[in-house]
């Protein structure tokens, strides 16, 4: 990635967290912790790899993206807005309000969103179907599916894991937002998830472990997935829940807590400080 582009994305990642924060603060609902952990990976995917733009919405050969951890919808809206699909001011103004199309989980009514998600564990089988359709039609598009780590307790994920390798879907790339927290706390205390890499390898997937907040490493991981033939790729992105806001980082309570006015100002200031760091190198 060129220096200039990297700096732009570095800058954007703090701005988009601010947008998600505004949505949640105004809408009085949302999932900031998981927004902030997954946002960098979504940003790199949309701006560096995903072959999908507002003009390509009906293109049969567009890349497909599924946010299986649908509760991180505010991050999704922020990225879709930055990519030109929707208007961020409209989202912030109406998110979760009476009658708004911008509801608290992804839905197909919004430009750029392929499927309605929100019930965890659905994404990977759907993604397998999409990737298989590409193989059947001889199309080159790729399919991406982002999941939470707590989500991996759902059995349907592992049904999809089997299909992904069974059908040799090398046009499929999953990503696990490994932030080590879910609603009830530490994932290892809720349902043990470590040895994820070994588990996916045993299921026949190519596995890449990466720092989920290192934009260049994420960029390389998506490139490696694109170059991998014969098997699907699972990227295990080691992340921090609430990343970028020390107030929220690594605290399970911020899974779906809505900040009060004071907390809102604090998080804004924290994000501003991170953005300043980018500007001043």
């Amino acid at each position: 990635m060129e220096r200039k582009e990297l700096t732009e994305l570095e800058d954007l990642r703090w701005k988009l967290r601010g947008d998600a924060l505004d949505m949640v603060f105004n809408g009085k609902t949302g999932h900031l912790g998981g927004d902030f952990s997954v946002l960098d990976a979504m940003l790199v995917l949309y701006f560096r790899h995903l072959n999908m733009s507002p003009e390509q919405r009906d293109d049969k050969n567009r890349d497909r993206f599924l946010l299986s951890k649908g509760h991180a919808v505010e991050a999704f809206y922020a990225v879709l807005a930055a990519a030109g699909f929707i208007d961020v001011k409209e989202v912030i103004g109406t998110y979760a309000k009476n009658g708004s199309p911008y509801i608290g989980h992804p839905n197909r009514g919004i430009p750029g969103i392929e499927m309605n998600t929100g019930s965890l564990g659905h994404g990977l089988p759907i993604a397998c179907g999409m990737a298989l359709a590409a193989k059947m039609d001889g199309l080159s598009y790729r399919t991406y599916c982002f999941m939470g780590d707590g989500e991996l307790a759902e059995g349907s994920v592992w049904e999809g894991a089997m299909s992904g390798s069974n059908f040799e879907l090398d046009n499929l790339c999953g990503l696990i937002d490994r932030n080590r927290l879910q609603i009830s706390g530490d994932t290892e205390a809720v349902m043990k998830l470590d040895s994820q890499a070994e588990r996916w390898k045993a299921f026949g997937w190519h596995v890449i472990e990466v720092d989920g907040h290192d934009l260049e490493a994420l960029d390389d991981a998506f490139s490696e997935a694109e170059a991998t033939k014969g098997a699907p790729t699972m990227i295990i992105a080691n992340t921090v829940k609430g990343y970028g806001s020390p107030l929220m980082e690594n605290k399970a309570g911020w899974h779906h807590q809505v900040p009060n006015a004071e907390q809102y100002e604090q998080i804004k200031a924290e994000l501003k400080a991170r953005a300043e760091e980018v500007r001043h190198g």
Binding site: M115, N116, P125, M130, L132, E159
Partner: protein, 312 residues
């Protein structure tokens, strides 16, 4: 035409249509033998998907395929398809509005000897409660053929439930009127209205003959489209009769009987009786024995109708 089980008719339609439509994709979950789909898998391997014993994956993948332009047909025993993958049907098919046809085979008490795990008595109530999901129970081979062709021609999701064995014809080769989502009135009378779905339509026709012989004038409606219910047909039948009975191979709550009672009660109150399986595990038997035990054979239906009419 040779007598085929409804599941075999579906397989036959898929074979014929796949020849000229590369977008038809059939998915099974270790169920293709029971679905009579072995020839399809041999003839069109590129349009056939086997997911193993994984019904959630079956329906999720079908939705993904459909969202990418395929006409996905997921075929699995009704008991598992309707309940194990209910959430995928509700969210990935209905809510996400994907072109998936769910075919529940060996439905109702087709596996009368195998216990509640293998019987689908709740599928109608469960799936009919989902917005944007359509629920069809064709009554014979001719209607099954027309229905399946119609569903392959449209782009919305649906659930079709059929039984395992050959069933008697309700229609003839050259006489099977069919308009999607419009019930068929098979005979008209002024005392009793029998509204049935699936394999019980034929039993209702037989019951109507017996009633007629006793001087009871009887309407029979083939409500293969449980959802969207043909409300006009229900009201016409109810208005023209003194009592209404419904018949379905399903649990007694939330199915055709509940829906008809709701419509009749709201618009033209009449005594309504729901003939259905019990709200309990079904006692073991063949399908015919079970129907007889629970009053769902022609004699039982005629008896219930006579009793309800006598009270009216």
């Amino acid at each position: 035409m040779a007598n085929l089980a409804n599941r075999a008719v579906i397989a036959d339609v898929l074979m014929k249509r796949a020849a000229s439509d590369r977008d038809i994709v059939v998915l099974c979950s270790d169920s293709r033998g029971s679905a009579a789909l072995d020839p399809f898998y041999e003839t069109y391997p590129e349009q056939a998907v086997e997911v193993g014993i994984a019904e959630q994956d079956l329906v999720g993948m079908a939705a993904g395929l459909a969202r990418c332009g395929k006409k996905a047909v997921a075929v699995s025993p009704a008991s598992f398809l309707a309940t194990r993958s209910f959430e995928q049907a509700r969210v990935d098919c209905a809510y996400s509005d994907t072109n998936v046809t769910l075919v529940g085979i060996s439905g109702g008490v087709s596996y009368g000897e195998l216990g509640m795990t293998h019987q689908s008595a709740q599928d109608i109530a469960a799936l009919a409660a989902v917005p944007n999901m359509r629920v069809y129970l064709p009554s014979d081979q001719h209607q099954t053929r027309k229905l399946m062709n119609a569903l392959l021609d449209d782009e919305k999701c649906a659930y079709v439930r059929v039984g395992r064995s050959v069933v008697p014809d309700v229609y003839a080769d050259d006489d099977c009127p069919f308009e999607l989502d419009h019930a068929n009135v098979l005979r008209e009378g002024s005392d009793v209205a029998l509204i049935a779905t699936g394999e019980l339509v034929h039993a209702c026709l037989e019951a109507a003959k017996a009633l007629e012989a006793e001087g009871v004038s009887t309407t029979v409606v083939d409500m293969y489209c449980v959802k969207p219910l043909d409300v006009e047909a229900v009201l016409r039948a109810a208005r023209g009769a003194k009592v209404v009975l419904t018949a379905e191979e399903a649990a007694p709550f939330g199915g055709l009987g509940s829906m008809v009672a709701q419509v009749v009660g709201e618009t033209c109150p009449r005594p309504v009786k729901t003939l259905a399986l019990p709200d309990a595990p079904v006692k073991t038997g063949t399908k015919a024995q079970i129907f007889e035990r629970y009053g769902l054979d022609a004699a039982g239906i005629a008896k219930s109708a006579g009793e309800l009419l006598a009270k009216a």
